[in-house]
């Protein structure tokens, strides 16, 4: 089935997105699975024109629901010890220090700015797609994006 193929092509992107949201490999992995489950479950409910954007939306909601269910859930720094374990997708991502730094910078932003930056910049979704996923006004999104980028740059400069 064609849909399966499209879904398969997006597994990695979705994982990276969810990892960048949760900063935890196991949660991200669970949520990837959950997202595809939901994507199939609600397939009939939506008019899907843009599958990639729709999958991101499902993933975003899966993450938000997880936060809601577990109020005490704290996004934590990845622990070093985990690197010693066998090769995981997380390990491969963690090896890229600049990616890790960028995520950390983005996470220090305000909630909405964080989501906008993750979607628009880190995962290269269009403004309108991101606005649709976050259920946000396009202009609001742009101003969040602008402010967020500025703050990230300030942090980058500080480090240097």
């Amino acid at each position: 089935m064609e849909l399966d193929q499209v879904y398969r092509d997006n597994v990695n992107d979705l994982y990276r997105y969810l990892y960048s949201l949760s900063k935890d490999h196991f949660i991200a992995e669970d949520l990837v699975q959950e997202s595809f489950y939901r994507a199939y479950l609600h397939l009939e409910d939506y008019e899907i024109s843009n599958i990639r954007a729709w999958l991101f939306k499902v993933a975003y909601h899966a993450f938000i629901d997880l936060l809601r269910k577990n109020k005490r859930f704290v996004i934590q720094e990845p622990k070093e010890e985990r690197h010693s374990s066998k090769e995981t997708p997380e390990k491969r991502l963690l090896e890229k220090e600049s990616f890790q730094l960028l995520i950390n910078d983005i996470h220090s932003l305000k909630e909405q700015e964080k989501h906008v930056l993750l979607l628009c910049d880190l995962h290269q979704l269009s403004y309108s797609e991101a606005a649709e996923i976050l259920e946000m006004n396009l202009n609001t999104l742009k101003s969040h994006l602008h402010r967020g980028r500025k703050k990230v740059m300030e942090k980058v400069k500080e480090r240097k």
Binding site: D4, Y7, R8, V11, N12, Y15, R16, Y19, V32, Q33, S35, F36, Y37, R38, A39, Y40, L41, L43, P89, E90, R92, L93, K96, S98, F99, L102, D121, L122, Q124, R149, K150, V152, M153, V156
Partner: protein
């Protein structure tokens, strides 16, 4: 200012692109696990959909059943309907009673059907006269399915020609001597049920005194102002209204009452039926009961009897021929001796 802005935007884009380039080659998942994740998700979703659909489908029957039961149980709706049906029998069918305790009910989807046997007292014994099956759709009854076991049942559709009890002012369609012949030719040692019509209206106790001993007055037909014409105002044939003359020891019989006379119970039943006339009219043979005007007439005129059902040994019943108040007689059921 705009220079500044562009500068930082450019820097940002550069940084971003560098980072993305670094990670873009990384394939977090192998082709195999990609397929696995999607397949698991798909199967799980499919299973969930199936289970939820199944649950919803399986809920339909229990919910409909429960709704129906609650509908009939709340406020005693079913019992009320059963009450109306059984009481209709007592006051519209001459010399007929039933055992309410043995009434069976079955509740289906938004419907209930009740079945019960009716009995006639012939001589000293109660004989099963037939069986009623009545379906309700919610509180709306269908015509009952009757299965009568009588030799001489009353016609299902009442008509002036086939009735058995006649008001003094109504003409009698059958030949008198024929009926007395039947009674005379029946062998002694049988018991019979006879319908007698009187020459004039009289009080129940007056009638009782006129009768020879050794027979039992079973049912009294009461004048309601319509019996002379035998039709209601719209011309629909009516049947007699009346009540059992004797105390009825059957459990749950409305006429098993120590603190009310049968006359009082009769009037109570009529007012109950008046409020539930559509149900009563389905159960009764007559398609019109016109209870409002008939009840008002009885309340105004008192209970006056124009006919009765009497049972006893055939030889005793022959003595009725000598009673001048009796205008006509029609023989009903005959059974073998059971008198003493």
């Amino acid at each position: 200012m705009s220079e500044d802005k562009n500068q930082f935007e450019d820097d940002y884009q550069k940084l971003l692109n560098e980072t993305l380039n670094e990670v873009s080659e990384i394939q977090s998942y192998s082709k195999k696990s990609q397929t696995e994740i999607v397949t698991i998700g798909k199967n799980m979703a499919r299973r969930t959909n199936i289970m939820i659909s199944l649950a919803i489908l399986l809920l339909i029957v229990p919910i409909m059943t429960l709704t129906t039961y609650l509908y009939y149980a709340i406020g005693g709706r079913a019992d009320h309907l059963i009450d109306v049906v059984t009481k209709t029998i007592y006051v519209t069918e001459p010399n007929m009673g039933l055992e309410k305790l043995k009434l069976e009910d079955e509740v289906g989807f938004f419907s209930m059907n009740i079945t019960f046997d009716v009995f006639k007292r012939i001589g000293k014994e109660d004989y099963r006269a037939g069986n009623y099956k009545l379906d309700f759709f919610l509180d709306h009854p269908n015509f009952p399915k009757k299965n009568m076991l009588l030799d001489r049942p009353l016609p299902e559709i009442p008509d002036k020609e086939t009735e058995v009890l006649f008001h003094p002012k109504a003409s009698i369609p059958f030949n008198q001597t024929d009926q007395w012949d039947i009674l005379n030719k029946l062998p002694d040692g049988t018991v019979a049920e006879v319908y007698v019509s009187l020459n004039e209206l009289m009080k129940p106790d007056v009638l009782q005194k006129q009768l020879p001993k050794n027979m039992e007055l079973r049912w009294l037909a009461v004048d309601t102002g319509m019996e002379a014409a035998q039709v209601d105002k719209g011309g629909v044939p009516i049947t007699p209204l009346g009540y059992p003359a004797q105390y009825d020891p059957t459990i749950w019989s409305p006429f098993r009452s120590y603190d009310q006379t049968n006359e009082e119970v009769f009037l109570d039943i009529l007012s109950l039926l008046e409020k539930n006339q559509p149900v009563a009219e389905k159960v009764a043979r007559a398609k019109s009961l016109a209870l409002k005007s008939r009840l008002a007439y009885i309340k105004k005129q008192g209970i006056n009897v124009y006919g009765a059902v009497i049972t006893g040994p055939t030889e005793e019943l022959r003595k009725l021929q000598n009673i001048k108040e009796i205008r006509a007689l029609k023989v009903g059921e005959v059974k073998l001796w059971n008198w003493e």
